[in-house]
Symmetry: C2
């Protein structure tokens, strides 16, 4: 469902060229649950952003569902993202002036579902992540791990075919981390493809396959 061939990405910072991805070749089959590990600054978020159509790449090929994803304008990228992808950001990116419930319900706005049904489904997903009690809190009234769980619920609610999660258990204690991984395994069993960046071995061990990123290339694939 995801196919990257020899993908390169370099950041331009002033006059500096900072090569981050130097020939990434990676295939993810539909229904797989893959983790990406690598040291801080190795390019994991950069790679996930490219897969998630949030950023473009300089060389190589990236196919999503068999279609080539090249440089595209923001509205086309947004439409593809809304239809196929769910994203959990490393820093959550919740909307500060909306409640947890409203944040989670937002992706359904584009699916022409009645507001009543959107909120019902949002409540269901919040509950699944243990967050029902905080539905009416604003993000700044939530702890770090609570914000993370709201972001996870939001990524799942529109039943995307692929969920991309950047350190989804980074702010969670071990018990809550296991609860989140249990939910991920449930939706994976329903056929949703998951790509998870994590720096925790125990979390990676719960996925089908671990991909190691180092020096801009994939070193090993277990």
């Amino acid at each position: 469902i995801l196919s990257l061939k020899n993908v390169y990405k370099t950041y331009l910072q002033g006059k500096n060229h900072i090569p981050v991805l130097r020939g990434i070749t990676l295939t993810v089959r539909a229904g797989e649950m893959v983790s990406i590990m690598g040291s801080s600054g190795s390019g994991k978020s950069t790679l996930l952003n490219i897969i998630g159509l949030l950023d473009d790449y300089d060389q190589g090929e990236y196919l999503l569902n068999g279609t080539l994803m090249g440089k595209m304008n923001e509205s086309k990228a947004a439409r593809l993202r809304n239809r196929h992808l769910g994203f959990v950001f490393q820093s959550f990116h919740l909307i500060g002036f909306k409640t947890a419930l409203e944040n989670v319900a937002l992706p359904l706005f584009f699916q022409k579902i009645s507001r009543k049904k959107r909120n019902q489904k949002a409540m269901e997903y919040l509950d699944r992540l243990g967050m029902a009690q905080w539905a009416n809190h604003l993000p700044n009234e939530l702890s770090g791990g609570q914000k993370q769980r709201v972001a996870i619920a939001r990524a799942m609610i529109a039943d995307p075919s692929v969920i991309l999660a950047d350190e989804p258990t980074g702010a969670l204690d071990s018990t809550t981390s296991l609860e989140v991984m249990k939910v991920f395994k449930e939706i994976n069993a329903q056929g949703i493809t998951l790509v998870v960046i994590t720096h925790e071995r125990d979390i990676a061990a719960m996925t089908d396959r671990i991909v190691f990123l180092q020096d801009g290339v994939i070193q090993t694939d277990e």
Copy 2:
């Protein structure tokens, strides 16, 4: 150096009273390195914010260096913080339009040190956290773990007597986490007191003492 006696903290959210801390009694001696663990939403950040004079409390007593910290106006709290405390926030709070170097140098601004000396010391601390190469990057040009390390360098640079760190290795891979803990142990050996919130057992095991927070009170203290 830190003494909390029966401290209570309740959040008011609309008409709701949300009791978070329900009688916290905790003493930290000068030069100790203590970790605080507990599940997501248990009140760890709330407790650290009270200790760091970033928030007030409703009942009980908190003494910093033997002086009672009660309700105080922001300028008095700011002066005390600048003089005694270094804080690593769970979400870093770097200044977006300043480089990594400028962010780290900022706490020295209040110490009447020449700009040349401030930048020199900031470079030294960035280097200690493995971040020298990124001195001139803006926060949005840094990875999650790189931002975290800049926030850590900033907390240390003014040689505070107490450093309060909220999940300082949350965004770091295991190798980089160990490097950060090594730096913490070095400054602890110089006499700096550290209170570290972490949800990782391996990190907590490197400190002198682990305090467990649950249901708003301290359950165990190892």
